[in-house]
Symmetry: D3
Subunit: 238 residues, 6 copies
């Protein structure tokens, strides 16, 4: 039995609250149950040095957690003077995932930065960041489309969403919350597109190594979950 009483293949309540920022070109407060991530997409003229004068654009992401988004207050990264390894790892993952559905050539020489700030954490912040970050990115591109800066359907090639799956108490389950995540034997994050392509797989044995069969079960759950997430994304922005 899961702590939340959910079925093994049952996701938490998912919601997307769009347009929550007065300033950002695209924004979304995404909720996976008690995990809440504020995503904003900011359009900037300047691109990274290696893209200058190539006509190609860039999509990047940054990730942060508010100090008391967690059960125990964490030290503020701005105050400790650097971003930790986990932060850097997550923001690289979010950036790669979002870029996988963008045609950077069609975007033109601009940069979109998607900031994902966790205001409340209860497990699965990186998958929520990718799934909600997509909505913010979409809305930023719509904003540009409305101003004739791009053609939305040329730049945005597909939907992309992410979910975590894991072996909890011997059973493969979908969308782990913190209570499950902190005790799961195995934890895997999957990023997939609307057409079913795989963008990223990260599976980690927390204690004992896992088997092929277990991994295939997690992958099956992920496919099911992501397909549901993408339906919800379509309802949100459709």
């Amino acid at each position: 039995m899961r702590p939340s009483k959910r079925q093994p293949d049952e996701m938490r309540a998912i919601s997307f609250e769009r347009g929550i920022s007065k300033h950002a070109e695209g924004s979304c407060l995404v909720r996976f149950g008690d995990t809440h991530v504020l995503c904003t997409a900011s359009l900037e003229e300047k691109v990274p040095g290696w893209l200058r004068n190539t006509g190609k654009g860039w999509v990047t992401a940054e990730y942060g957690m508010l100090p008391r988004s967690t059960g125990t207050r964490m030290r503020r990264e701005a105050s400790s003077g650097k971003q930790g390894g986990r932060t850097l790892e997550i923001q690289r993952l979010v950036g790669r995932s979002l870029r996988s559905v963008v045609d950077l050539q069609a975007l033109g020489e601009v940069q979109i930065t998607v900031d994902c700030d966790v205001v409340q954490a209860d497990g699965g912040t990186r998958t929520a960041a990718i799934t909600g970050g997509f909505i913010a990115l979409h809305d930023c591109l719509s904003w540009m489309h409305a101003r004739h800066m791009i053609k939305l359907d040329k730049v945005l090639k597909d939907y992309v969403a992410a979910i975590s799956c894991g072996i909890y108490d011997g059973v493969p389950v979908m969308d782990l919350d913190y209570a499950e995540d902190s005790t799961a034997q195995t934890d895997a994050n999957f990023v997939m597109t609307g057409k079913g392509g795989i963008v990223e797989i990260q599976g980690t044995a927390e204690g004992e190594p896992f088997t092929d069969e277990e991994f295939q079960a997690l992958m099956g759950l992920a496919r099911k979950g992501i397909s549901r997430l993408i339906e919800l994304q379509k309802m949100a922005v459709g």
Copy 2:
């Protein structure tokens, strides 16, 4: 005429949304019009070194802005590797202001950290942080009171709130928004208590120096505004 069409002595719409964090002992999303600051108060066992074994506690504050809380995206302080001078200045001010109404001896040897994170900025973030931070602090102390850790009325000596006033287009006005703040000749922040005591005054001439008369006018407006803010605080937590 103010850009927002407000009267010179008219504050923006103020609201306090309490209990918005599942984890923090006290929390509040405070809104001064389009300025939104998320405040959490976190109780911790450890105190700063110089208070160890004194029986006295501490209240401190940290301040941050989400990168796209502003019109143009700012660099994330965690990524630039340090907190800027403005951030340090504001969090020192918020900490001093909140401590002015707490009996640190009666609090006992614990620390409360009030995190003020600006999710949307439209001028006056420091005054919103103090005013909303007070609510989060109050609720944290209530939480402790309910667990017989302290007596709320022994520890919390008074209310405290803050407002900015300035000379806009030659007229003294209350609670400047960004459009006013960025062009005001003079800008002053006032922090006062429920009993009318002054905790902090910070007045700055942005262009021309200001006169005694102008300053007295600002101070009068501030007294009026803060008294209204404290009424609203009382309604929120009373």
Copy 3:
């Protein structure tokens, strides 16, 4: 009775020793009693990025304390790897104060950096830094005037000086030394110009909040003290 036996409205002995640096365009060792601050004004061709090609110049300030300027040796900021919040706050204040009397357009596209290094501290280092920094700035502008780079009287619009006042043992007093500063209930710094304009007011209740009447008393003392400081500045550079 003040620890120094001074009258409530009695300043410490003030002196300006000009031209103490062989290299700087303007320099001054200012003494407020046992508080000694070495001020140098350095002319540089480059301006901050946002002023490039605007024809406008800039005046900025930096502040530091020698490690043993204080009763107990402090850690060197260069060795701890960053400037603390107090340092940043003070140097921002000194810069704003000096800019308030300079016509940046008439200065032309150059930068003057006023370094204020405390060689011995006994309270009131920031007010000494502003008051002595003005002399260094004046002498740098004279140096430029003598070389036909500017017209001194077009660029320098007024005098500017600063003083701290506070409530010590229930009595409003002027120009607090360390013994007073460390126990004062209320501490306020005032920056004013030769024509009597107010540039900056910073008042802080260290313990109990203060009243309007107390604040007005401090402000009255400040006006008296600053007017005396500006007389001394005039004697020094006149």
Copy 4:
């Protein structure tokens, strides 16, 4: 055809040169073709704070690249003042992988740090680091066993090795070198144990998303390759 003329399921020449450090308790220079990583395992008495007085030990890893281990000289991380995101990500992976085969309780309250320094890079540095780091760790544990500090077979539960697989020019291939890695559509790293358990899977679509079938092909190759690597490890330390 692969740039190196290897068959799709052909690994590069692998070698382990043990005992290459006079000082370290265990050490190994591992070569995967032209990728050379120097691994040392250092025994230390102190453990991280959260393990103090628990009787449990810790195994951790650090990773670095010499500035000219790559085709173009990279900036030295010690000089730029921080370890980049990629470095932190890799050393966290190496640490997790090595811990997966160690009984930390049986190790006792000591820490082993495995340093993996790339002296020459030609793709696959993280998989070489894990595979060679295991040898250094093994030899450190043997050193402790010889001194009756632990029982080797109680502490070291299994072998562990890693390999990268990818889709190069449409074909799934094993053990990518730099020429392949920099142009592969998909790149996945696998970490597995001697008993066939999966410790970590990291698959990333560099360009187009990949399919289930492609991923299964990579996983099949990885199983084959890792099983060969573990045979080589056994020959090295058996």
Copy 5:
């Protein structure tokens, strides 16, 4: 002919101004011509970790230059976030030199930090720092002697001073000023004790390598100069 018209073996005017700090246990403003270094010696109870509970003390030094001590303003090291290589090199040298004449066992478990801050630079700042730092150290030890904390003559074993010599325009000269230092072919710093022992020699060919004969000539000059400096130290503290 030297730019300063001095004879090859002629030092600049040397002076020691003692007791210039109200707070420090020992202090000295040393002048080698236009090179002025403010030296303070601070007594602290705590010693570095590796000396704790050994009964032995420590003498260390820190070095800094005020930003406008030089012809062109330098960036403040506290603001750039780290001490440069030259600064670290000099403060290590000053510390070693002063320790060479102190019996750390007889000093007892305390630390003396000698801060050397260059207020005006004209070449030879490190030799002035050592020579003047000795006076500050001496006076700090006298202060301790007067309080029966140590026996001065047991702790301070000898005098120590330093001078730079170099080949300027083909001629070996003593005590180089900036005009000479910046064009000298060879530059050497010597640290010696009152009894004539050598503590440190640092010779560097700036352009062409130098010969044995040249080096011996510099060493002869140094011996002469240091012996004069030590006479002056004796007059100052004797």
Copy 6:
């Protein structure tokens, strides 16, 4: 008797292993007994700012120690966030030494960075770095000569090598290993050219000051040792 049973004027076994890097333009693994330093010379188009458009090039060096190159594991400098004083001091010395034999004008506007990474330390790492760094630099210049970018004999003016000498147990000895270095009373490093010119002398009394006679003895040994090292360099690259 020396711990290694060597004669006072006997060097450790010296070897140069060239071409050990697939990527670097010049490279050499130098061994002074158990001290092993990996040196690579990297050619880069960009020069430091102050040389831009002067037609002159630059040679610089960087130095690092692998964390377990020493008896006890040291903290990785990349992880501690800065290079220590000793590291900066050594890399400045290596750079100066190598530049002393290069005609920077004839080199043309390029930069060569010589990285010296200590893979195993047993005393004398800086002298090994200079001596081996020369070989890497030579081979980089040969690489450029072969591509008609420079004339080797115009750019490289001489050989350069370095050795440490010290007073061990009262006897002047050559090429100290760690056992000697850590207990020697006096330690001096000498850098000289093939023609016998002196490039750098650094002598330090670790305990008691040393005498002229002792220093002359060390210098005599150094001359003998360096002359032997340069013979070995000639055999290596001749």
